[in-house]
Each structure stands twice: as structure tokens, then as C-alpha cells.
């Protein structure tokens, strides 16, 4: 197995992909299989809105902190991520006006999310929370086994390498997408997003009084008729199409005490989106 092969001027290591072009579809198809390893199944990812929850301050954040602390006591394995909120918008508005490139904007926004992760940790530290550095990914089993509450940075590490977006200048890989990918790569099946409305509506309910709540929908049906104004990153739904693990994305109202607890217990509160 360890013999090196040097018959064409290049030094090869024997493997299924030796000498192959990884662009060749006939080759990449060989790396597919029905099953995929779940690294940390049973863990639920909880995403807390930045603008929707954090920017409301004490009255919205403290009841949610109490709920998270109680959930931690009940030993439900979960990982928490937080959005950046209005400071992300301000960052983007200033950056756009200055004419910073898309990758430059992506490089900047993560700081606001990290600040909110620290905010949450200050409040939850006595209940066993810990802010995870991104490159400390593999400490997660330690924290979960010891029933701690890991808080992760939600923005994905695309930074300067954010691909040019389709249709506009803003980075398309935002914090909802980042949390989705966190769950997907670790083989989690469920994500609960905590926002300030009852779930996904046909239109933005803050702007339209005739907006209707969608209580339960499949990803396939949602994609046939995607609302113009989304409550989650459009890229999340793009990634979900090809995802292997995430089965259920739920959006609940964090201003209503008990909704997060009900969602973690598996109840259909808020909006439930399922991939069949």
C-alpha cells in the first residue's frame, strides 16, 4: 500500500483518487454513498437572534437565559449560537458606503457576533456555559460530556474568501447559514432558531398585517414557494437541499417563555420545516 508510484513524472500515493482529476464527475461520483457518518448525533443546535432577541436587552434576554439554564439542568445536549444583530447591519451599511469588497465585509461582521457570544456567556457562566473558539471545534465532546453549555461563533469562517455573491454586494454566507453548517457537519438532526416572531410567515409580519404564519411545511414545498422576505439566510435553504443530516429546522418566538423548552421537547411550536 505504501509504495510510491512515479511512472509519469509525478510522485503518487496509491489511493482510489490517485492521478485523478477531482473535477471529473466520473471520479467524484465514486466518493458518494447513501450513508454518512454522524459525528455528534442527538445534539440540538439552538440559534438565538441578534436583532430579534439580543438587541431588545434585559427584558428579552434574561427570561431566555433562565430558560437555557433550566434546559441545561435537564441535560439536553445542546450547542448555542447567537447572531450579531443591529451592529452587523450598521457595520455593513458603513462598509458598503465606503466601498469595501464583499470579502472585506465578511471579514468584519463576525466581530459583532463574537461580542454577543461573550454577552451571553457573561450571563450564563454560572450555569456552565463556555464560549468556544472556532478552532477549538474538537473540544465539543468534552463540554457535552460534562453537561456544559457551549456557545459557538455563528458566522462561518469565510472571511476575505467570501465568494462574490449572486445578485448583490452583501456576503451570502451569514450566521444562520453558519449555524446550519455547524449542525450539518456534526451530524445533528435538529436546529431551533429563537427569534421575535412566532415563526416563518408568508410575508414579513412587521411590515404586512395580512402576513400568515406557516406552522408546518416541508423544505420541498417551501422551496416551490419561497417567501420574498425570509426570516433565515437564503443560503441556509440552498445548503439544506444537499445536506445529509439536518432533518428539522424550527423557528420559535423567544419573547414567549416556554417556546424554546417546548421545541427542544420535540413539540411543534412556531414553524417547523422538515426535510423528507
Amino acid at each position: 500500500m505504501s509504495t510510491l508510484i512515479q511512472d509519469d513524472g509525478r510522485t503518487h500515493l496509491p489511493s482510489m483518487l490517485m492521478k485523478e482529476s477531482l473535477v471529473d464527475k466520473r471520479v467524484t461520483a465514486k466518493t458518494d454513498s447513501e450513508h454518512e457518518l454522524s459525528i455528534l448525533p442527538q445534539v440540538v443546535l439552538v440559534g438565538i437572534g441578534g436583532q430579534s432577541i439580543f438587541d431588545r436587552g434585559k427584558s428579552a434576554v434574561l427570561p431566555l437565559v433562565a430558560e437555557l439554564a433550566a434546559l441545561r439542568e435537564s441535560k439536553i445536549p445542546m450547542v448555542v449560537g447567537v447572531g450579531g444583530g443591529t451592529r452587523v447591519r450598521h457595520t455593513m451599511a458603513v462598509a458598503l458606503d465606503l466601498g469595501l469588497p464583499t470579502g472585506g465585509i465578511a471579514q468584519l461582521v463576525g466581530a459583532m457576533e463574537e461580542a454577543n457570544a461573550v454577552f451571553l456567556n457573561v450571563l450564563l457562566a454560572k450555569h456552565g456555559s463556555i464560549v468556544m473558539q472556532r478552532d477549538h471545534f474538537w473540544e465539543l465532546p468534552l463540554y457535552l460530556q460534562s453537561h456544559m453549555l457551549p456557545i459557538v461563533i455563528s458566522i462561518p469562517p469565510y472571511h476575505f474568501w467570501e465568494p462574490p455573491s449572486e445578485g448583490g454586494p452583501l456576503p451570502s454566507h451569514g450566521s444562520d447559514f453558519g449555524l446550519f453548517m455547524y449542525a450539518e457537519v456534526l451530524g445533528m438532526e435538529r436546529i431551533v432558531f429563537v427569534k421575535d416572531q412566532d415563526g416563518l410567515y408568508t410575508k414579513d409580519p412587521k411590515k404586512h398585517s395580512d402576513a400568515e404564519l406557516i406552522p408546518h411545511i416541508s423544505l420541498q414545498d417551501l422551496q416551490k414557494n419561497m417567501p420574498e422576505e425570509l426570516i433565515l439566510d437564503g443560503m441556509l435553504f440552498e445548503a439544506w437541499k444537499e445536506a445529509r443530516h439536518v432533518r428539522r429546522v424550527q423557528i420559535v418566538n423567544g419573547l414567549k417563555p416556554g417556546q424554546l423548552t417546548a421545541a427542544l421537547a420535540g413539540e411543534d411550536v412556531g414553524t417547523v420545516i422538515v426535510k423528507e
Binding site: L22, V23, R56, A60, Y158, F160, V185
Partner: protein
């Protein structure tokens, strides 16, 4: 209940779940538009060893007073070995992307050792903001070609090989710096209608639009599909040039702006 504590800005009430900003004209500035972002192929150059790599690096050294060059390395056969084993173990695409990242970093360190006496320095993605200093000092910064997506690399429709590998990453480095063209040094004269190593009837394509190329849906290409997609919608880097590093002088000619090899350009 307290209201949201918003900071007033042009985006206060925007939905922001998509890249569009209605009614805003965006005119981005290029950071280092005269940077030459060069990819050194993994399988095509690095795995060929001294006979091939050293002459290419000699050209880099000879050109170092004239150009600000950022060298980015590909992976090659060890990356293929990692992808083989990880996909055999049915690991997720994000894990393949993270593990695959180790090999181009090794290659970048190898190139740095070879170029150390000519001011070659190994840099990480986090050092990107220090590039102006490195260029001013006359250094040749060398880094991995892999983009930093790692575990956050999206799964694709078929197979587990990450869509964004070192071609995509190097192109995105050029785009981030605002360079108008990225130069990929490989072991073929450029792009062909099929893999010329396997199909002797494959025809050379000297110049083609990115969208046109994607619409041809060729079975195999010398450059990653993701990189070609990014050419099609980049703000700055509107050309991707692929040259043959086995032919002496190719890199020098490409640095001087000559249209050798294949140029994939942004078409509409």
C-alpha cells in the same frame, strides 16, 4: 417588552437574508490591484519535485523586484489520499475540506523553505491584512491555496469531494485583493475539451467565457467548477489564466501580461 435597540443606518430595516440591497449602488474599491496572485499546482507541480518546481521558483525570484507576488499552493496526491480515506469512512464533506487543508499548507511550507533566502515567508489567512508590509519589504508571501471554509464547506449534490478547493481559494484570494487576473501554474497548456492525459483527442481552448464554459458542461476540466463560477460574477478578478509550468518562461510571460495558456474570462 422593550423594543429593539436599533442603530439607525441604511440597513436598519433591511431583511439581509439575501445579498441584494435594493436602491443602493455599490462601487467597491480594490485593495491591492497590482498584486499577482499565483497558484502553484499540487499534483501538477509540487508532486513532480525538484526538476519541475525549482525552475518555476527561479522565475519567481527573477521577477521579484518587478511584481508583488502572492504564491498559493495546491494539494496534490496526499490530498487525494486524504479524500479517498475520509470518503471511504463516509465522513461529511466539511471534514474532508478541513482535513484536505493540511496538505497545501505543507506544500506552502516546502516552498517557503526553498525561497527563504529570497525573502519567501509563510503566511496564514489571518496575515492577509499584513500583505502591504510584506510587499513593501520585498518579501514573497507564500500561503495555502485552500479557502478557510473547512467544516463550513457545503455538501454537494454528488460525492463528498469539497467543491471549493485550492483553485477556488486562490481565485478568491485574487478577488479579495482586487487583482484583475489570477495565474494558475499547472502542467498542461491550459484548458482542453476533456482531460488530455486520458483523452488524446481533447482539444486545447485558448480563450473562453466562464458562463459559456460552464454551459458546455465538460466531463473534466483543468480547473475547479467553483472557481469558474466565481469568475462569472467577480467584481475585480475577471480573468483566470492557466499556464504550463513545465515550459520554461511561461510564468515570466504571464506575469508580463502575455495571453499564453488559457484565459477564462467573465462573459455576460
Amino acid at each position: 417588552m422593550e423594543e429593539r435597540l436599533n442603530i439607525a443606518s441604511a440597513l436598519t430595516d433591511a431583511t439581509l437574508t439575501r445579498p441584494e440591497v435594493p436602491g443602493f449602488s455599490y462601487d467597491p474599491i480594490a485593495m491591492i490591484p497590482d498584486a499577482k496572485v499565483i497558484k502553484l499546482g499540487g499534483q501538477s507541480l509540487m508532486d513532480r519535485g525538484r526538476d519541475v518546481l525549482v525552475p518555476v521558483l527561479d522565475e519567481v525570484v527573477a521577477a521579484k523586484e518587478r511584481f508583488k507576488m502572492l504564491l498559493c499552493c495546491g494539494g496534490g496526491t496526499r490530498a487525494r489520499h486524504i479524500y479517498s480515506i475520509a470518503s471511504d469512512l463516509e465522513m461529511p464533506t466539511g471534514v474532508l475540506a478541513a482535513l484536505g487543508g493540511y496538505v497545501p499548507r505543507q506544500n506552502a511550507r516546502m516552498v517557503q523553505m526553498l525561497l527563504a533566502k529570497h525573502d519567501g515567508i509563510f503566511i496564514l489567512g489571518d496575515d492577509f491584512e499584513k500583505l502591504p508590509l510584506y510587499f513593501r519589504l520585498g518579501c514573497i508571501p507564500i500561503m495555502t491555496g485552500m479557502p478557510p471554509f473547512g467544516y463550513w464547506e457545503k455538501p454537494g449534490p454528488e460525492g463528498r469531494i469539497p467543491a471549493n478547493r485550492t483553485d477556488a481559494g486562490v481565485f478568491l484570494s485574487a478577488e479579495a485583493l482586487g487583482a484583475p487576473r489570477a495565474i494558475f501554474v499547472k502542467d498542461e497548456d491550459g484548458l482542453y475539451t476533456d482531460n488530455p492525459k486520458k483523452n488524446p483527442k481533447a482539444e486545447w481552448i485558448p480563450r473562453i467565457g466562464a458562463r459559456e464554459l460552464l454551459s458546455l458542461d465538460l466531463p473534466d476540466m483543468v480547473v475547479e467548477r467553483a472557481a469558474i463560477e466565481y469568475v462569472s460574477r467577480a467584481h475585480f478578478c475577471k480573468e483566470l489564466q492557466i499556464i504550463n509550468g513545465l515550459k520554461p518562461g511561461s510564468l515570466t510571460r504571464a506575469l508580463e501580461g502575455e495571453d499564453i495558456g488559457t484565459i477564462i474570462y467573465q462573459d455576460t
